[in-house]
Symmetry: C2
Subunit: 433 residues, 2 copies
């Protein structure tokens, strides 16, 4: 359809063909309006019944909402029209007729349940707010990649079908792979490390991860998008610097390029986070959580932070922040401990006041310590030989992190449920569409 | 390691710390050189044995190849050095020692089997040529996304765990999903169409696809990266235009930004394809193939094109080209036929002289015809109700295509085997690393 004009680009004085969905029909008697909607916005098409051909009027006004039409006509200035212009139609072609009953209302005037919306994403994303979330998601991915490129990182794609999981056999979806057992990968962790040890040095990936966790909460998914970074010759502080720059770049791009989308979501007070993000030690974190009095029981050294504790601390801090210097025993074995205190890990989390967004750290690059870590975790190092073997051939110190893309979008746009940030979410109940 | 300087940025007169791998040690007696390699290149470190501290000399020259070292010293001009500069070391720190026996030679002087290289990707991608392929791959993805953005397309992520495959149950890897049977998706086809029917209108995705095909060839993978486009209000010609612009943008970006990488791959005569790509009808294609005399048997209308035929035609055309107007019966049911001749499909393939890169077409957006297509294909339309249902609510005409990212890289860089273009390929035999 080479000759189609976007509604937003229809200029008075031109004859155009606009095409899109019948958003609404307003029949005022002698005059009626068809509001045509496309990806760029809406335009009013005016039917003056007495002055126009009956067939044309019937074609334009007899069509059901959400049907797809192409309208050819002259564009006129019309200050009373919502966009100050209207089309006076010469012809109307119906390209696709919609049922008169719709499972949800794309004008957004009638609210629908989330499950109804997810069952009918095509219609749901004809709502302004729905379209806005995914336009922003696309913008965020572009900004994140650009920030990685500025940090000298190369984009990679690691395999999603794997022989062994990153952290063992739990929480993995099993696959039948040509008669063998395999799994869907829960994290690119081991693979991105292998490539950080090559001459590429700094790498990133934005790709799917799969977790067979039986969570059923508004912030867990069984298939999610992970934004991953790994860099040779980086320590945990370097990794936090890259993390901060990537997250801030995403906010800045949205603030700069997505004003309409933010407006559609009612986010007039969208703010780019202040930098630097505070770096709070685990020790300070539990002290501050305890001081809020929000928890029934005081936290002690070695406790993992409960969700309520994270929230209390998030309220206290009031913005994005890092938690550093975790007890070594509650971080994964592939995270390095501090040189000068082996009870302390270089692992870090990056937090939004509402929830954890990022987990990272400097990695253990010393092969013997790494193998001991597998054993301590109850994993058979033999099963990971493809990985540990490379640590014999000059594995540089390296660090990295993983950021949940949906959590980034969810917290950025203040969405109630993480499923709002995924086109077709996967959870224990939902496998289709 | 905030104070690290890339070897390519070490400037005479400065004192720097460079860090990387021991590429080579050349001991000439009284003088010896350590060639240090990092992601940006190499630099010579000079040891004048009589004038330097013995311990320093021993530390620098006693270390095995591929060990990781950090060298601090003054950068001097030295016209006899490969990069016209050298480092006179003040200190050498060994960050990670490598075994003296390596499974392959990262200097590239000794060739290794592909399987050895794939088993040892970390080492393999310390070779210049290995690094070059994946730097280019990253550049291609960036250029492709930019071209999509210029074509007003929004980046999407569709689910990889699905209840039903795009084209039925064959060639799918089964998963156990919380006790239910599910599959790894073989194509984003149905999902991208559902979103093209939303207000996003034009969408693209670069993501993994999974095919349980028992091929064992240098150009098939069981897990691949697919570059997908789908656009509402597009016909097959619009889709071909976008396809051509995306592929050309990838070549242009590589020509412009990857001179060193092309050099490392010996591709001095890299050329951006001429446009427009010829659009050759299926009918003309079989005539031209028959005329080459390369096939033992002449092709007749309705035959699929055999690999040998594609090669003969590719040689004849000499560059990228489209094959259009296929017999409807050999294209998938979701491709629309021509209005004026139902035996002809709007489906198209985009070909490199060596192989098919892209398959696309205008889609069937009329629900009744679509359901009839499922039935004709022997598929139960009920199983796809989540998809066909949306065609009741105003599905616009739309068109799109899928491009194999690895085939694009393989043909662009004249690689013999598609596995060269994937970090960790998956085939019937290879599931690890």
């Amino acid at each position: 359809m080479d000759d189609r004009t976007y509604t937003a680009e229809a200029t008075p004085g031109e004859t155009v063909t606009v095409a899109g969905w019948v958003h609404e029909i307003r029949d005022l008697g002698g005059i009626a309006f068809l509001i045509l909607r496309d990806t760029t916005g809406r335009i009013q098409v005016k039917f003056e019944k007495d002055e126009m051909d009956d067939e044309l009027v019937e074609m334009g006004l007899g069509v059901s909402r959400e049907s797809v039409v192409a309208v050819t006509g002259d564009v006129k200035e019309e200050p009373r029209a919502p966009t100050d212009v209207e089309v006076v139609p010469e012809s109307v072609e119906v390209l696709s007729r919609a049922d008169t009953e719709l499972p949800l209302d794309p004008t957004g005037k009638v609210d629908a349940e989330l499950s109804t919306r997810l069952d009918n994403r095509t219609l749901d994303l004809r709502r302004e707010a729905g379209q806005a979330i995914f336009s922003i998601r696309s913008e965020v991915q572009a900004a994140v990649r650009e920030a990685f490129r500025e940090a000298d990182a190369t984009e990679i794609n690691t395999p999603k079908i794997v022989a062994t999981g990153t952290e063992g056999g739990t929480e993995l979806f099993p696959i039948t792979y040509f008669g063998r057992e395999a799994f869907m990968n829960q994290s690119p962790q081991l693979f991105k490390q292998l490539i950080a040890g090559s001459n590429l040095e700094r790498v990133f990936e934005i790709g799917p991860i799969f977790r067979a966790e039986e969570h059923n909460t508004p912030r867990h998914l069984n298939e999610a998008t992970s934004i991953d970074f790994e860099g040779a010759f980086c320590d945990h502080n370097d990794a936090m610097d890259v993390c901060e720059s990537v997250v801030v770049a995403a906010y800045e791009a949205v603030a700069e390029n997505c004003a309409e989308e933010l407006d559609a979501l009612g986010l007039d007070e969208f703010e780019v986070p202040d930098t630097p993000f505070p770096r709070i030690s685990y020790e300070e974190a539990i002290e501050r959580i305890n001081a809020t009095g929000e928890l029934d029981e005081q936290l002690v050294w070695g406790d993992d932070l409960p969700t309520e504790g994270e929230k209390a601390l998030g309220n206290d801090v009031g913005g994005h922040y890092f938690i550093t210097d975790w007890p070594a025993e509650i971080k994964p074995f592939y995270i390095m401990d501090h040189d000068d205190d082996e009870t302390l890990s270089t692992g870090f989390d990056m937090m939004h006041p509402r929830m954890e967004l990022v987990s990272g750290g400097q990695r253990e690059h010393r092969r013997e310590e790494l193998i001991a870590g597998f054993e301590a975790q109850g994993l058979d190092p033999e099963a990971f030989e493809y990985y540990t073997k490379m640590f014999k051939y000059g594995m540089p110190p390296h660090a990295g992190w993983g950021l949940g893309a949906e959590r980034l979008i969810m917290t950025m746009l203040d969405l109630d449920n993480i499923r709002e940030a995924v086109l077709f979410p996967r959870d224990r109940q939902r496998l289709s569409p």
